[in-house]
């Protein structure tokens, strides 16, 4: 089952961390991680007891002769449920127990009995099956989007950091850019797609390209500003807009749904690329600005002048001297992003009808299946903590001055 693979992966990870950074570090980290995990899941478990219910559920609660704590069960099973079903559910989930007891039996169920519970109580669909089916999809989404983001952000970040110190030669004022975009959109809305496409292709694109390629600090600030603007677009806006834009060619681009690798590479990729593009574009400006800021700082260091004095070429210096120390922040954020990619996944999977873990979470919320949510959140937290510990260890490879376990 999944658990065996997961377990071996876990053990391998732990071994790696211990080898790289020592027992004390590993122990300290895992103790801290465990604490956080417990707090999070216990918090969720407690908060659930305060869930409010809507009127129908209240009425059903009163009409059926069940425990007052049965509210989540009634919600889960529906107002037409029988008393026996509700009682069984209450028993099953320990709703009559105190908060600590309930929590502990949940932990027991998850960790020791390896029973992840139900994804949908009503039809008794097990959570583990849902995870098996949906998790890979979201995982692919994450992977492709982050790869895309890095693929765009790293070269652009390096290039614009390099340009930052040099004198530019163009005179196009930067503030034309957002105004230009707004004008463009308005034209499109008022005057139609034709007119705005003409303006876009004929005037705005050449100006921007011209501006960027003339080089110098102007190109850097142009790139920086574009990144900034991209940052300011909410993910859902980006998703909806891109979906609309690409809807023009419905036959070529598959806009919804998902195909796994087993259906063929083309099918798989064409079902994933658009949501991945959206998530990737959302992450790109963040990475770009981080990398650029660090590189600019490092480029001002003496050892860069020394390398130039030794006659090394600019490319060599950029890539082999400056890049490595500049990736520290990037790596940190990449790790922290794991937890937050879930946010993006929720939105994007909703927009593109992509049946992954994100939309599962939304559905669970809608059905008030909080137990499933609690379990998934726990899993996310585990992955998050492990990844970040690994990244902490990775620091020592990138920057030997830092010994693992430094408190940032």
């Amino acid at each position: 089952m999944i658990s065996l693979a997961v377990l071996t992966a876990l053990v391998a990870l732990i071994a790696l961390i211990v080898k790289a950074a020592g027992w004390r570090f590993a122990l300290k980290r895992f103790a801290g991680a465990l604490l956080v995990l417990v707090i999070v899941t216990f918090g969720v478990s407690v908060l659930l007891r305060f869930a409010s219910a809507d009127e129908d559920v209240q009425k059903a609660l009163e009409s059926l002769d069940v425990s007052p704590n049965a509210q989540p069960c009634v919600t889960a099973l529906g107002t037409g449920a029988t008393k026996e079903a509700v009682d069984a559910c209450v028993e099953d989930r320990g709703l009559d127990d105190g908060p600590v007891q309930q929590y502990l039996s949940w932990v027991n169920q998850i960790v020791f009995e390896q029973d992840l519970g139900y994804a949908y109580y009503k039809n008794q669909e097990p959570l583990s099956e849902v995870i098996q089916q949906r998790l890979p999809r979201t995982a692919w989404l994450f992977l492709y989007s982050q790869l895309l983001a890095l693929f765009l952000a790293i070269p652009l970040g390096i290039w614009s950091a390099y340009q930052a110190g040099r004198s530019g030669r163009t005179r196009i004022p930067l503030w034309l850019l957002p105004i230009g975009v707004v004008v463009l959109v308005l034209l499109g809305v008022f005057g139609g797609l034709m007119l705005s496409s003409v303006v876009f292709l004929g005037i705005i694109v050449p100006s921007v390209v011209f501006h960027l390629f003339r080089g110098g600090a102007d190109a850097d600030s142009a790139t920086n500003f574009l990144a900034f603007a991209l940052l300011s677009i909410p993910v859902f806006v980006l998703g909806v807009t891109l979906r609309y834009v690409f809807a023009i060619e419905r036959d070529v681009f598959q806009l919804t749904g998902y195909e796994p690798w087993s259906e063929g590479a083309w099918n798989h990729l064409s079902s994933v690329w658009l949501p991945a593009l959206v998530l990737g574009l959302a992450a790109t400006p963040v990475y770009l600005r981080l990398l650029r800021a660090d590189m600019i700082q490092n480029l001002q260091q003496d050892f860069v002048s020394v390398a130039k004095a030794k006659g090394m070429s600019n490319t060599h210096i950029l890539l082999r001297h400056v890049l490595r120390p500049s990736t520290v922040t990037l790596i940190t954020v990449l790790g922290l992003n794991i937890a937050q990619l879930v946010n993006g996944a929720i939105v994007v999977e909703y927009i593109f009808d992509f049946d992954g873990m994100g939309s599962f979470l939304l559905e669970s919320f809608a059905r008030r299946e909080f137990f499933a949510v609690q379990t998934v959140v726990a899993l996310v937290a585990v992955v998050f903590i492990l990844t970040n510990t690994l990244i902490d260890v990775l620091y020592t490879a990138v920057d030997p001055r830092v010994t693992a376990g430094d408190d940032r």
């Binding site: 979906r243 922040t329 940190t332 939304l362």
Partner: protein, 305 residues
């Protein structure tokens, strides 16, 4: 979508651990006053229109009842007489956007206020006093980091109900640790400075030092993060209402307009684009102002200019 704290950090081009921002070339400093002014103008304009719209409603020119359905204007595209067009049932989009702005701004500002007050206090105390309080605050921050932001908000709103109060509460729960982390980092830096240490050595009480020396120096960065946070909150609220999880109808929010518009987006693209434009410009302006404030603060720190 990245987590709140990192978004704040990323928007200012900083590392999450609040390192110094790298200076841009001289030209970028020359250009920014103009965009800065434009951003401020837009924000002021937005606030004024929103407030006036809320108070005077339909009596203002160009505004009608946002919920009024106009059968002969169903899904009408924008034109010079009808600036933003009409929605699926003929409602005037311009009025809807103005109405929706109220929620976005109200939520944005309330959450930021709570965040600054509570999170700022937490961060200050943790960063200056260190010790057990600091450990606790750090724990809180780490815990919040491990939970996907949207998830937490959706969770709270679903449990307690889709009311304005809970939306604000949920978003505050996000903003507080995010701001606390940044204020703490700033306070740590300031606490290390010599004038603070001098005051301590002189025997001045720590609480007095906190208010007289530390707070004023942390305040500028707090201010700039206030702007950045407001932008993020507006985005998250928009996402929530897009997913249908924010305040319920008949209250109008930007996200809701977009959600409705995207159902038949072929017919009603303007319903998506108009509010999107407004959101984009607002968030961009907020980000830009916040970022500029941060840069000016840093440069003052370094003693130049």
């Amino acid at each position: 979508m990245t987590n709140v704290a990192d978004q704040i950090a990323a928007r200012s081009g900083e590392a999450p651990a609040a390192q110094e921002d790298a200076a841009g070339g001289p030209k970028s400093q020359r250009k920014s006053p103009l965009i800065f002014k434009l951003s401020v103008i837009w924000l002021v304009f937005l606030v004024v229109v929103t407030v006036l719209g809320k108070i005077f409603g339909e009596s203002l020119p160009l505004l009608v009842d946002p919920n009024e359905r106009n059968a002969d204007k169903i899904a009408a595209g924008p034109s010079w007489s009808n600036l933003m067009g009409n929605a699926t049932f003929g409602q005037d989009i311009l009025s809807q956007v103005v109405e929706g702005a109220w929620i976005s701004l109200f939520v944005g500002l309330s959450v930021t206020l709570v965040g600054i007050l509570v999170g700022g206090a937490m961060g200050l105390i943790a960063g200056y006093y260190r010790g057990k309080i600091d450990a606790m605050v750090r724990l809180v921050i780490n815990v919040t980091l491990s939970i996907p932001a949207l998830l937490l908000v959706i969770f709270i709103v679903t449990i307690r109900g889709q009311e304005l109060f809970w939306v604000i509460a949920a978003l505050s729960l996000l903003a507080i640790p995010a701001i606390a982390r940044i204020v703490r980092a700033s306070a740590l830096q300031v606490a290390d400075r010599e004038y603070v240490k001098a005051a301590e050595v002189l025997g001045v009480k720590k609480s007095v030092i906190l208010f007289r020396e530390v707070l004023p120096n942390v305040l500028p960065s707090m201010l700039s993060f206030a702007f950045l946070t407001t932008g993020i909150v507006i985005v998250v609220e928009g996402t929530l209402s897009f997913l249908g999880l924010s305040v319920k109808p008949p209250t109008i929010t930007w996200g809701k307009i977009i959600a409705e518009g995207q159902i038949k987006i072929d017919e009603t693209p303007h319903m998506v684009i108009m509010p999107s434009l407004v959101i984009f410009l607002t968030v961009l302006s907020l980000n830009f102002v916040g970022d500029q404030l941060l840069k000016r603060y840093d440069i003052k720190e370094a003693g130049i200019g």
